[in-house]
Structure formats: structure tokens, C-alpha cells
């Protein structure tokens, strides 16, 4: 189950990422008539990518912090509660 869940999340988030980036692009590029407009659309999509990556990093840091808290607590009890 875990493998299929991971795979689903990977592929689905790629697809949704494309969709969201496409929406950002078309909302930002004023119809993309000039080169400058077109580029600002791509920039918007790239900024979205930066934001998403940042969110990923943030989540990992939170996770790290959570693990750290748990480990120190377990250390204090002198036993592992990990399942």
C-alpha cells in the first residue's frame, strides 16, 4: 500500500503542479502577446516552483524538528517508544 501511495502522490503532484503553474502563467502573462509578457508568465510559474520547493523544505524542517523533539523526549524516558 505504501508504495502505491507514494507513487500516486509523486505522479499526481507533478500533474497538479503543472496545472497550477499553467494557471499562474496564463493569469500573469496578459495573454502572452509580447515576448516580455510571455516571459513574465514563465517567471510566475518559476516563482511558484520556488514557493513549492520552499514549502517542501519548510515541511522537512518541521519534520526534523518534530523528530528531534520526540527523540529527546524518548531519551529522557530512557526507552524507545517507537513502533
Amino acid at each position: 500500500m505504501a508504495a502505491s501511495l507514494v507513487n500516486t502522490v509523486v505522479n499526481y503532484s507533478i500533474s497538479i503542479g503543472v496545472g497550477i503553474a499553467g494557471t499562474v502563467e496564463t493569469q500573469v502573462n496578459n495573454g502572452g502577446r509580447t515576448e516580455q509578457d510571455e516571459l513574465s508568465g514563465y517567471r510566475g510559474a518559476l516563482y511558484l516552483g520556488i514557493g513549492l520547493s520552499g514549502l517542501g523544505v519548510l515541511t522537512s524542517l518541521l519534520f526534523l524538528w518534530k523528530m528531534h523533539v520526540r527523540e529527546t523526549r524518548e531519551g529522557a524516558h530512557g526507552q524507545s517508544v517507537k513502533a
Binding site: L5, T26, G32, F63
Partner: protein, 292 residues
């Protein structure tokens, strides 16, 4: 295995498409059907636990959580369809936001089915620890950020990610917002770039050094030439296919590397003749694309 499969698959898809381009996809379907049937006989069956093995077929079917699966898949499908259809056709289209809303509602139904109705839920939410959810969110963010690279280049851009694996994104889009974007991802080495080199020489009637090509490693469009593999080349004659595919190369020569939008300024630094050449290439490709 992956790279080998990509080369063999790409080549055969290209060869079949010489007859008729949709064969690229039909043969893919046929090959997969054959593989699916073969796998029924070849793959060893999973050893079932005794209590599962004892169950009757109807019981097994009941354990599949078909309501959950169908609701969940439909929800994901509609949600995804709405998001990917909207950039091209606009959020103001009724069917798009209706699909989005139905998708979201079905998502709620899915959660309800999984938590309340199903005896053996497809995704046992109770079993998902916060650790797992953290990892999944992380993963989703990372891959979603990656996914957006697929929409980037405007006309024809080429990209490769690492020296081991090359992802070639060849996208074409017209100047209408409704134009669909096409993408192809091919994976292979420089082995067939010589062929492309010859074609380049013949077409442009000017030498092109192999070192240049192999350094770039852009053998990718050979596959297009082999059989009009790329959507932009559908039903195009050999010359047009070549033209369309050269577009990618020519584009690169004026500084459109894989880092395309960022290095767009390189475009300005090139000589007028080079730029003109590329413009002609792009124009013909787009014309070709429009005609299709």
C-alpha cells in the same frame, strides 16, 4: 533498463508512425496489452495469507473497496482535469469549474467512505501516522515544483537535467492561449547523433562539427527524424520533420539552453543572420503545427 526501454520503445514507436502517426500510441497500447497478458502467466503469484486464501471470490471482491476506489479515482481525475484544462481554456468555462467542484465534493465523499463505510478501506487513514503525512507532503511539494518545469519553454526548448539522464522537453505552442502544449521526454545517449549531423549538413549545406553536437549531447531529435515521433512532426514529410526538429538545435545555437527563460538574453547577443535563421525555423514549425 529504463534507458534501454526508452530507446527501443522510441525507435519502434517512430518506425510505426512512419505508416500513420497514431500508431505510435496504438502500438504502445498493444505492447502493453501483450505484456499484461504475459505477466499473468510469467509473474509468480503473491503468497496469500491463509485467511485471505480461504475467502470466496465474492468476499475477495468485497474486500477490494470498490466504492472507495471508484469515488477516489473519479475525484482525483476530475480535480486534475480541471486544473490542467484551465490554463489552456480558461477558468471561466463552466465545465471546468463544475468538474473542479464535483471533484472536491467527491473527495469529501471519498474520505467519508474510507472512514465510515468501507470495512477494508483502500487508504486506512487511521494507520497514516503524522510522520507519513509529513513525508507525503514533502514529496508532493518537491514533485509539484518539478512538474511546473514542464510548462516552461514557449516555442521549442531543450533541456537536460544531469549528465546521466537527459530529459528533453520539446514543446510547441502557438500564440493563442487555447493552444495545447505538447511534451516529449526522451532518454538516450549520443549514439545516433551522427545521423542527425548528416541530415543537418544536407539540409543546411554547411558543416557542423561533431564535437559540438556530442558536447551538447542533443541526439534527441534523431528520434523525431526517425519517424516523425514528435507531435509537432505528425504527418509531416521528412523535410518538414527535419525542419521542425532542427528548430530545437538552431534554437540552442542562439543561446537557448536548457536554462531557457533565464538565459533568454543570450538571444540578443547573436548575429542577425543566426537569429533570422532561427526565426525562420520557428516560423515554419509553428506553421506546420497550425496546419496540423
Amino acid at each position: 533498463m529504463f534507458i534501454g526501454g526508452a530507446v527501443v520503445g522510441g525507435t519502434f514507436a517512430g518506425l510505426w508512425s512512419l505508416i500513420w502517426w497514431p500508431w505510435t500510441f496504438w502500438t504502445f497500447g498493444i505492447a502493453l496489452t501483450i505484456l499484461a497478458i504475459l505477466s499473468m502467466f510469467i509473474l509468480p503469484s503473491i503468497p496469500l495469507s491463509p485467511e485471505v486464501a480461504k475467502l470466496s471470490h465474492t468476499r475477495k471482491l468485497a474486500e477490494l473497496d470498490l466504492p472507495g476506489a471508484s469515488v477516489g479515482i473519479t475525484a482525483m481525475l476530475l480535480f486534475n482535469f480541471a486544473w490542467n484544462q484551465a490554463p489552456g481554456f480558461g477558468w471561466d468555462k463552466v465545465y471546468i469549474y463544475v468538474f473542479l467542484i464535483i471533484g472536491l465534493l467527491l473527495c469529501l465523499v471519498f474520505f467519508w467512505v474510507e472512514m465510515r463505510v468501507a470495512k477494508k478501506p483502500l487508504i486506512p487513514f487511521q494507520a497514516l501516522s503524522t510522520d507519513v503525512i509529513f513525508v507525503l507532503i514533502c514529496e508532493a511539494c518537491g514533485w509539484a515544483a518539478f512538474g511546473k518545469t514542464l510548462v516552461l519553454p514557449p516555442t521549442c526548448a531543450v533541456g537536460h537535467s544531469t549528465d546521466k539522464t537527459r530529459y528533453i522537453h520539446l514543446l510547441l505552442h502557438a500564440d493563442t492561449p487555447a493552444a495545447p502544449r505538447y511534451l516529449t521526454t526522451l532518454d538516450y545517449g549520443t549514439a545516433i547523433s551522427r545521423r542527425h549531423l548528416r541530415l543537418y549538413r544536407r539540409y543546411y549545406d554547411r558543416p557542423c562539427h561533431l564535437s559540438h553536437w556530442s558536447r551538447l549531447g542533443y541526439a534527441h531529435l534523431d528520434a523525431c527524424i526517425l519517424g516523425g515521433l514528435h507531435p509537432c512532426c505528425y504527418d509531416a514529410g521528412p523535410r518538414d520533420v527535419l525542419e521542425a526538429s532542427l528548430c530545437g538545435h538552431a534554437y540552442h545555437t542562439v543561446g537557448h539552453g536548457h536554462e531557457f527563460p533565464c538565459r533568454h538574453s543570450d538571444y540578443e547577443r547573436r548575429s542577425g543572420e543566426e537569429v533570422r535563421e532561427v526565426r525562420v525555423c520557428i516560423h515554419s514549425t509553428l506553421t506546420l503545427y497550425h496546419n496540423i
